[in-house]
Symmetry: C2
């Protein structure tokens, strides 16, 4: 619609964006290339001038999200904060990604199992590595007595999945504002970790 497309990637970006919305709503397997084409406003065959296959779309979404989270945790890991602020920063990043980038993040979280090899293994490895980094932050906090004695993998499981529950907030009618949501979540989860509450 604008006078000029900033880069020639623009139509492909539109396809990826619409695909993320549809994969989120119906699931990857239940979304057909004809559905997607109609949403984009072209014929199904024309999609293949911009993407190579249905699976390539999923790959683009999943690895784009993974890269963003990986970059972020590396920055936080390297920072000189105490453990609780580190965890808080990490959680706020997760919450904001889920709020602002809802469709993509949700798809990467729930639909990655439809990736094909070698992408599937690659993605799973990145996930595992991410959780390990997160766990080692928590374990540092436990050692330093900043965090109560809990099983770190269990705490991570709770926190990561709790955040992904923002999908229900997104679809809720009478929802509180974003800042309130974030602060409530942080308060509940951080107090669940802290040593003397």
């Amino acid at each position: 619609m604008a006078k000029a497309q900033r880069r020639k990637a623009s139509k492909k970006d539109l396809i990826l964006q619409k695909a993320a919305a549809m994969f989120r709503e119906k699931g990857f397997a239940a979304t057909s290339m004809r559905d997607l084409a109609e949403t984009v406003g072209i014929e199904a065959a024309s999609l293949y001038n911009h993407i190579r296959s249905k699976n390539e779309i999923l790959e683009a979404i999943c690895f784009d999200v993974a890269n963003r989270f990986n970059t972020n945790i590396d920055i936080i890991e390297a920072s000189k904060q105490a453990v609780i602020p580190k965890v808080e920063t990490l959680l706020r990043f997760h919450i904001r990604q889920m709020v602002e980038n809802y469709e993509e993040v949700y798809v990467a979280d729930r639909e990655w199992k439809h990736l094909e090899e070698p992408y599937l293994s690659n993605f799973q490895n990145q996930r595992r590595a991410y959780r390990k980094k997160f766990a080692s932050i928590l374990e540092e906090g436990i050692q330093k007595n900043e965090i109560k004695k809990i099983d770190a993998p269990t705490a991570i499981l709770i926190m990561l999945h709790a955040v992904s529950g923002i999908e229900s907030w997104h679809r809720s009618k009478a929802r509180i504002n974003e800042r309130e949501l974030e602060d409530n979540m942080i308060m509940i989860m951080i107090d669940g970790l802290r040593k003397q509450g």
Copy 2:
């Protein structure tokens, strides 16, 4: 294999059980009736002597799970416990269902969007009603000063999704035992709610 089938429902039960396992692993849409038939050990056409359609299988799974949770929350609501023990009982029920009844509960939680009307609306209404009951327990706790001032729907969103994260525990290699998992989760989540931690 046993000398007698206790009831004639037995083969249908096998189909439902195998279907739950496959829907969990691959998703509803990506599981074909031929895949399912092979797992059960019969031809695809023979499935239809026991079930009416693919969607009927999903309905059976989803509403079976919903009924169990609804029955439980009604019992807890009617009990005379204080709020924190009520919430703890509720959470322990969720955790145990997720541990012991993994496949079915997971499918009801993640694949219900593939239900068809009128089952889809029915299921969504039951979900909403369940969350409302849970929220009113929390709100009672906030009023009585047993629980800190938080947004109840947000707290519920956190807790319900945290529990559903037990899927990763299930698939984990080096996993802690069930009792430890349950106690860790309860400790983190209940302390996140409690007034002075």
